[in-house]
């Protein structure tokens, strides 16, 4: 019963498809990832397109981390320690992550953090 609290809950919606209206922000672009390419090259097209948004999102996570640890030590730890960890990750993931860091210009440790975030988030 704690979940039936209109207007935060509502009757079952109908006729929402095709997606439209205020709950539909937009469609999603398609990209091809060519698995015949070397792992470090596979994500170049995607990251070239999305680099700015990726940098913004990672900056938001860094701002959050700095809110918890104002000294910046947490980000330093990420930037120093996680690059050492990337080579322990199995391929092709390790080389794909390095490729993404190279194309985006984002520090490798921060790209590693994004990719293991599910495990880190449990902290």
């Amino acid at each position: 019963t704690t979940q039936f609290i209109p207007p935060y809950t509502e009757e079952c919606r109908t006729g929402m498809y095709p997606p439209n209206g205020p709950t539909f922000r937009g469609a999603v672009s398609w990209y091809t990832v060519d698995l015949d390419l070397p792992p470090s090259k596979r994500w170049t097209a995607v990251i070239t397109d999305k680099k700015t948004d990726l940098i913004e999102m990672i900056q938001a996570i860094k701002d959050l981390a700095n809110a918890f640890v104002p000294s910046g030590k947490l980000i330093e730890l990420v930037d120093i320690m996680l690059p050492l960890m990337v080579d322990t990750l199995p391929n092709p993931f390790s080389d794909e992550i390095k490729g993404i860091a190279a194309v985006s210009g984002i520090p490798l440790g921060e790209v590693v953090l994004f990719n293991i975030f599910y495990e880190v988030f449990t902290v």
């Binding site: 709950t23 469609a27 999603v28 091809t32 995607v46 990750l89 199995p90 990719n115 449990t122």
Partner: protein
């Protein structure tokens, strides 16, 4: 997150999911939204993974993330994963990894490997159920034959439970949010009850990609954490996804 696999009365399997993320990671008071969820939305991409110019699998992803949370191996199976909370969580797995114990797999690397290399529903189910993980998870898997739809509840080491579609028992769909299906969800985050109410109201006769989208658009199944909705139909080999918004008033989770 909410993931559902349903079988209509003609035996077609459809798979839909809302990807919710960013809880407690900064609340934007002015816009009444989670900061990280909003930053993730522009990064949502659909990916067509090809080898020898042939599609191996397709996925909805966040640009920069090489693991998989949502995907389809056309005409073979569909796969999504939802987060599972446990005290024996990912941080223990990471600690073990740092200390040199590396026989477990990172969750999204396992789903990526299954989408890339498994060639049947049964093979995918076995690998998702039996591979040691660094963090617990729910895997929601749909196949290409009647009855092939399941929720695999995983701890880091074990497959705790597999709940499968069973038409004889009237279970024409399986639906997972973020709580073990044999337990009551956390009382302040029961998205399961409203979602199941809408599935039952839709009925097996009327279930389709369209009506699953309706279920996934109903608050609080749609909430401030929802970044995208993906709809997949294995028999068509189709995957489509939409970036979502939840206008106020809307549940923060």
């Amino acid at each position: 997150c909410t993931s559902v696999v349903a079988e209509d009365n003609k035996g077609n399997l459809v798979h839909g999911r809302n990807l919710d993320f960013g809880l407690f990671m900064g609340w934007d008071v002015k816009n009444k939204s989670w900061i990280i969820s909003e930053k993730l939305k522009p990064l949502v991409v659909n990916l067509d993974f090809k080898r020898n110019n042939q599609t191996v699998f397709k996925s909805t992803n966040f640009a920069g993330y090489v693991g998989m949370l949502t995907g389809i191996k056309p005409h073979i199976f569909t796969l999504t994963m939802n987060e599972r909370f446990s005290l024996d969580g990912g941080y223990i797995g990471i600690l073990e990894w740092i200390l040199g114990q590396r026989d477990g797999m990172w969750m999204s690397f396992l789903t990526r490997s299954v989408l890339e290399n498994a060639n049947s529903y049964e093979e995918a189910k076995t690998r998702l159920a039996q591979t040691k993980l660094l963090a617990p998870a729910y895997f929601i898997l749909g196949g290409n034959q009647t009855g092939q739809g399941c929720i695999i509840t995983r701890s880091r080491l074990l497959s705790i439970d597999i709940l499968e579609i069973d038409l004889k028992l009237g279970r024409w769909y399986v639906l997972e949010t973020n709580y073990d299906h044999w337990k009551e969800p956390f009382f302040l985050d029961d998205r399961r009850t409203p979602a199941k109410k809408c599935m039952n109201q839709t009925t097996q006769t009327n279930i389709s990609l369209k009506t699953i989208y309706d279920v996934l658009s109903t608050k609080p199944v749609l909430n401030k954490l929802t970044t995208y909705t993906t709809l997949m139909q294995v028999s068509e080999g189709s995957l489509e996804s939409y970036i979502r918004d939840c206008p106020n008033p809307c549940m923060p989770w």
